[in-house]
Amino acid sequence: MAGSSNNLMYGSVDLLILKTLTFGGPMHGLAIGEEIRKLSRDRLQIEGNALYPSLHRLEGKGLLKGEWRISEKGRRARFYVLTTAGQKCLRKDMKEWISHTDAVRYVLELAAGEV
């Protein structure tokens, strides 16, 4: 569970969603959340109240496309797929995110050394 790291996570939810959607076809919100949990070996669990606003925002930006489909269990669910713009955005943001976190880690490790 994310616990206190929620705040840190907030900015990366978009990125995690985009990335998760590159692994397969259309997924509904619950499946996306589950997938992220599995991929992070249970360390990241995105709560619905962070996941869905993020999905809707990304859809508004045209990075995802949502549509109503029938789920495996025969119920109507909103499925999301990555758009081309989403793929582009993911590539760009992933680079930025990695270089940013690298930089943060570098500074933190230096600081840890001093402590």
Partner: protein
Amino acid sequence: MDGRSGWKRLFRLEESHRHLNRNIDEEIMFHLESRIESLMEEGMKEEEARAEAHREFGEIESTREQLARIDNRNLRRRTIGDALSTVLPIRCRNTANGKSEALFTARWEPSPSRPSNYIGGERPERLSGIMVTPEVFQILDTATILGRIFLADDFNGMPQVVILGHSTWRRIFGEDRSIIGKTIILSGHPTVIIGVLDPGWVSPRGLMGEEVDVWLPLDVTLPEFQSTGYYILEVIARLKPGASIKTAQAEMNRLAVTLNEEMPDTFVDWEGNPRRIPIISLQSAITGDIESPLLLLLGAVSLLLAIACANVANLVLARGTEQVHEIGLRFALGASRRRLMGQLLTENALLSVSGGMIGIVIAVFGVWIFNTMNPGGIPMADGRSKSSPSSTRSRMGISRFSELTCADGNSFLEMSCLIRFQL
């Protein structure tokens, strides 16, 4: 229990008629219920599973509010995008484009056509749909081959009835003549089929190569349309006899001024300038601004053609002087003027016919290359046309064809003139 009351709230909201909220609720509910199910499969009791699912999800009510806010914003930004209708793409497309592309690299879908998921056959199918007001089919003289077009009673709230395009009827329903009165599920709503359009009737969208699969009635009294902030509808009108686009535009300009005065805050475009109501003819709506560049291109091609003809004529002339001896000899041996002319004509006819054939092959290939590499921007030229994929192509092919045959005809005439001249 907190979760329970959340549930109840959700159900109460389900009864309200706000489409948007219903979708939000359905999405959240799907999440919670599926999660509860899988937790129960893992062995939890229902109560526990419910509580756990709610705890995992977090605060439902605030999520709901947040989603409604986001969706509203999206809606405003994307036109009603997913939900609504169009008949003719009018200018607002351009202004809208500029804004959205400045904001995101995301693709803007200006066509407010409504993608509908049809369910009912063996597998769900994605259809393109348009909602129209009662007058649209009247103005366009729409004919059906089965059933009827919309009546006044059909325009009552969310669409209950649907008219199928001819190709949809053929493709999905296998030309089933008993289809009228059957119900299909469109975007989750049961909808009754009341008509099938005549294949001879092409909508303005179809002319632009984006034929519509299903037509739905648009009730303009729906709350979604009562807001003055959305400009998503496209209007099609027929000019009164004697009226011109100019006079109609003058009238619309006056109307726009009035609307600007009435709603100075909302009747504005993306830049905040007072909105206009531009009128364009159906033809220019289809061909767009491409007419003058195409004319220029045509001029350039004609010029090139003239140069090529002159070149060929030159070559033939040069060959003619070489043949002077041969012709003189034949003449001395008693060949008549007619026979000699016949011989020269045959030679040249062979030349131009074979030249023409090669030309046609190159033209067909060229059209194919153009279609495959089409950078876009030329209406009716790309292979987009859903209703008649081959027609635009063949039409272009024909024009090239005639161009070439003309050219060959020209050079042929020219050549024979030269030959006569020589003789």
